[in-house]
Amino acid sequence: MIQFLFYLFAFAAVLGAVMCILSRNAVVSAIWLMGTMFSLAVIFFLLGAELIGILQILVYVGAILVVFLFVIMLLNLTHAASDLRGPVSLGTTIVVIGLLLLELAALWRYTPRRLAADIAQSPMLADPSTLFAAGELSRQDAAARGVVGALAAPLFQTYLVPFEITSILLLAAIVGAVVLAKRRI
């Protein structure tokens, strides 16, 4: 059942991405992208990252995509002509993306055992349960303290400085967006 759900929503995510690239109307693109984001949120749930799935819906669908739609409607771009690039660019894209997919498709066959064999120093150490003990520990932590608590502890201890720098980044982005959107720069 979970297997079926995973592949169903994986297909939905890929379909949404393809239609987002191919549809001529920018609003339609944004709606297909919304489908991709929702499908990815479901996949995050299936992978055991409930908080990330909820944040995906809140931040991406609730904030970022709404801003996109807002700008599209503000600029009145709904009836644009086709803007796909020419045949030369299409050929380049197919070659580059084909090579990229060919390299990345090898990831499909990865299992924890194979990953452990790849990154372990010696074959003796390539036991997934000892090499990836952190994953099991964090699962127990999440079971004991809840998903949010287990995520908050490292965020405010190990990753405190990057977290604070993020707030400076957000402040700079707010000020930058206001300055850029003013009528006279």
Partner: protein, 102 residues
């Protein structure tokens, strides 16, 4: 460990989505759709982080949080730049925005 059966498929899906996003960036000329394709690529990376966080613990999830923050900041500033350019050129077609080509 029931979750980790999806490690390979999740990484593969992430690869497909990343390639689709890159293809969109190369193919489209509409600046706003190009931004959407960048969001697809960032989402693909998020999926890879979440898939590997099953094995490596919470730090993967925290990196996803940072990626989301950067994506939000990037969308805000990028769309403001597009608005400023539209006011200047009356177009968001990247073919008309070639000031740096001299």
């Amino acid at each position: 460990m029931p979750d980790t059966t999806f490690l390979g498929p999740a990484l593969g899906l992430s690869a497909i989505l990343f390639s689709l996003g890159a293809a969109g960036v190369l193919l489209r000329r509409n600046a706003i759709v190009l931004f959407m394709c960048i969001e697809i690529m960032l989402n693909a990376v998020n999926l890879a982080f979440v898939a590997l966080a099953q094995l490596h613990g919470q730090s993967g999830y925290i990196l996803v949080l940072f990626v989301m923050t950067v994506a939000a900041a990037e969308a805000a500033v990028g769309l403001a730049i597009i608005l400023a350019i539209y006011r200047h050129k009356q177009s968001v077609d990247l073919q008309n925005i070639n000031l740096l080509q001299g």
